[in-house]
């Protein structure tokens, strides 16, 4: 028994049913991945694109028309009025910004957790984040009433020599949302640099070569560059993770720092973050299920991706359900009559219908994702994902409106209804979102080409498909 004797470690081959489903189906080659993804932006404009784009463009114009009407007339064109001074504008703001959070979760948190499946969906999800935050950013700005003074929110010297009051969570929100937007754009752009180089190297026309080449910044794929690049990417992921958690926490503090029953609770930050990720995954599924079909990317966004996203939706949906239950419990347990009334009023007051839509869409329906049959039925998944979005919109409606409509003094109670301007502005932001998203689909690689290549077995120098010889590399 010499010390040099080699131990034979028993390493049985796992049975096929235990093997992981590959991230790129049909063992596609590295070149195929470039061709498939870049082909979406390079090929002829597909037939469905123009009608979709024109409808979005018209809706975007509707959004700008409504904003012009609001600015020229005043916030009286909305349904706001005493006591509900925060209506659809704030509901829409929180809803859109929450949608953005899934993109950052996929790109940053799942990167830190080494979830390699994120590569198939992160680019489109990050684009969704940026466009959703753009839609979100509109609402607080136009909501201030005198929009031409909205710049007072920023610490810019003004003629009155007055600075913003930084004790207000609304100021924190300004910093959180603008940082979130900027860092999301930086992260997205940095991920795009190698893929823009792919587009540049494939470009046939001078214009495309120039355009992609300019934004690719002269990327060559040098390993010395990749080394710095990967470190910077890791750091950005590490910075985006606390960022995304802080943004929706700060959004929730807009409510929680106030003294109103139903808002003044400590559970708000984690509950808002979970809800944001929940709604964001709903939106990612709503967008990617049609896109993978229309763009022929079923081998890159596989059923495994859809399955995993359904599981995240289920998990976050359950956290949201737990938070609802905990809110009700604490309202009862606190013994505070105003707090108790606020929750009784949510479920059985004049806005009971919005509360039960919220419960049905956010807590009950996502539980269907426990079943594999449901997770693998694309039409059902798509419908549930839309219901999740609807449910999360109603969650914000319930929080904002029910509390304001019935606060402490019954003499102050009221009932809020939106006007057609509220509704058209909200619909218009979908136009803005989809206009940008459709342009993104036509001009940029919608899947992170370099990253997806990196997770295939033929990209691994220690794998036989990557050229490794038997018995080590």
């Amino acid at each position: 028994m010499g010390a040099t004797a080699k131990l034979e470690v028993p390493c049985p081959v796992p049975p096929p049913e235990l093997e992981r489903v590959p991230l790129v189906a049909n063992t596609r080659s590295l070149g195929w991945i470039s061709d498939a993804v870049a082909g979406v932006a390079e090929g002829k404009t597909p037939k469905w694109w123009w009608p979709a784009f024109l409808i979005s463009l018209v809706m975007m114009c509707l959004c700008f028309a409504m904003i012009t009407y609001l600015m020229s007339t005043g916030v009286g064109v909305w349904g706001l009025g005493h006591p509900v001074m925060w209506g659809w504008a704030i509901v829409n703001f929180v809803w859109w910004i929450g949608i953005g959070h899934a993109g950052t979760l996929i790109s940053a948190i799942l990167f830190l957790l080494r979830q390699r499946w994120r590569t198939g969906v992160n680019r489109a999800a990050e684009a969704m984040t940026i466009f959703a935050v753009m839609c979100a950013g509109i609402f607080p700005v136009i909501h201030v009433g005198r929009i031409w003074l909205a710049w007072w929110l920023f610490p810019i010297p003004n003629a009155n020599s007055i600075w913003p009051q930084f004790r207000s969570p609304l100021m924190w929100d300004v910093f959180a949302v603008s940082t979130y937007f900027t860092v999301s754009v930086l992260f997205w752009y940095m991920g795009l640099i190698p893929d823009l180089a792919v587009m540049r190297d494939r470009a046939r026309t001078r214009l495309r070569k120039f355009g992609y080449g300019l934004f690719a910044l002269g990327w060559t794929g040098s390993n010395r560059h990749w080394s710095h690049y990967e470190k910077a990417y890791l750091i950005l992921a590490g910075l985006s993770t606390p960022l995304v958690l802080s943004v929706h926490s700060i959004v929730s503090l807009d409510f929680a720092v106030s003294q109103l029953p139903g808002w003044h609770t400590t559970i708000f930050p984690p509950y808002f973050v979970a809800g944001a990720i929940f709604s964001g995954f709903g939106m990612v599924l709503t967008l990617l299920i049609p896109i993978r079909k229309l763009c022929g990317l079923e081998d890159l966004i596989t059923m495994r991706h859809v399955d995993l996203m359904c599981k995240v939706t289920l998990a976050t949906g359950s956290i949201v359900g737990y938070a609802y239950a905990m809110e009700v419990f604490i309202a009862w347990y606190s013994g505070n009559p105003y707090e108790r009334y606020a929750f009784w009023n949510r479920a059985f007051g004049p806005y009971w219908w919005s509360y039960w839509i919220m419960i049905a869409c956010n807590v009950v329906i996502p539980q269907l994702f426990w079943f594999k049959k449901v997770r693998h039925h694309l039409v059902v998944v798509w419908i549930i994902s839309i219901l999740v979005n609807i449910g999360m919109w109603f969650e914000r409606f319930v929080i904002v409106v029910t509390t304001l409509a019935r606060e402490f003094l019954p003499a102050n109670w009221g009932y809020y209804t939106p006007t057609w301007v509220d509704i058209c502005t909200y619909l218009g932001t979908f136009g803005l979102f989809f206009t940008f998203f459709l342009l993104f689909l036509r001009f940029l690689p919608i899947i992170a080409i370099a990253e997806v290549k990196g997770v295939t077995p033929q990209a691994d120098p220690h794998h036989p498909l990557g050229g490794a010889k038997k018995g080590g590399h």
Binding site: T182, V183, S222, N223, H228, Y229, G466, K469, H473
Partner: protein, 179 residues
């Protein structure tokens, strides 16, 4: 006009990441300095095969973060305490608790700028021109091929020996790239 093109380096093409990595190990062991590997995606283990040190990009990000936090705190202190004091209920004019959220966001913002611009600075990007980008086959470096380039101004570079080294490392296609 008639000036003859200067050679830039020897370009060796490889089919698989494993081949490129073995070649990189041999070039590293031969003691070359001005050389590089070009791959369509970051190859796991290539940094070690090339003998690269850990990237220093983190320092740029760290400095950015420190600058962000400090400037956030100073900004709020100067505005709300010094330049235009807002006394509320006899509370201290500057409270680090309410100044924290904006400073935290600025830490992340400046840290992120530090990471991106630090990466670009260390890589000497953006650059508008690179001799390799003119080469016909090099476009495949972003597609599915792996290239190793040894520059002619490397002190160890010798026309025939270097070419032989790359051949023996398993490259089937070796070309001279002009500057």
């Amino acid at each position: 006009m008639a000036e003859p093109a200067k050679p830039y380096g020897l370009l060796a093409e490889f089919e698989t990441p494993a081949d490129a990595m073995h070649a990189a190990e041999r070039v590293r062991d031969a003691g070359f300095r001005r050389w590089d590997v070009f791959t369509p995606y970051p190859v796991h283990g290539m940094d070690k095969a090339m003998g690269l040190k850990n990237s220093v990009v983190g320092w740029f990000s760290f400095l950015g973060g420190v600058a962000g936090y400090t400037s956030g705190m100073l900004l709020i202190w100067w505005m709300n305490h010094y330049d235009y004091a807002i006394p509320v209920g006899g509370k201290p004019l500057f409270s680090p608790f309410s100044a924290f959220p904006p400073s935290y966001e600025l830490t992340i913002l400046f840290g992120a700028f530090g990471a991106l611009f630090g990466m670009l600075f260390l890589n000497r990007l953006p650059r508008l021109h690179h001799p390799l980008l003119k080469h016909r086959r090099f476009a495949l470096a972003s597609h599915d091929r792996f290239f190793l380039v040894i520059e002619t101004n490397d002190p160890k570079y010798r026309d025939t020996e270097t070419r032989q080294l790359l051949e023996s490392a398993g490259s089937r296609r070796i070309e001279m790239v002009e500057d």
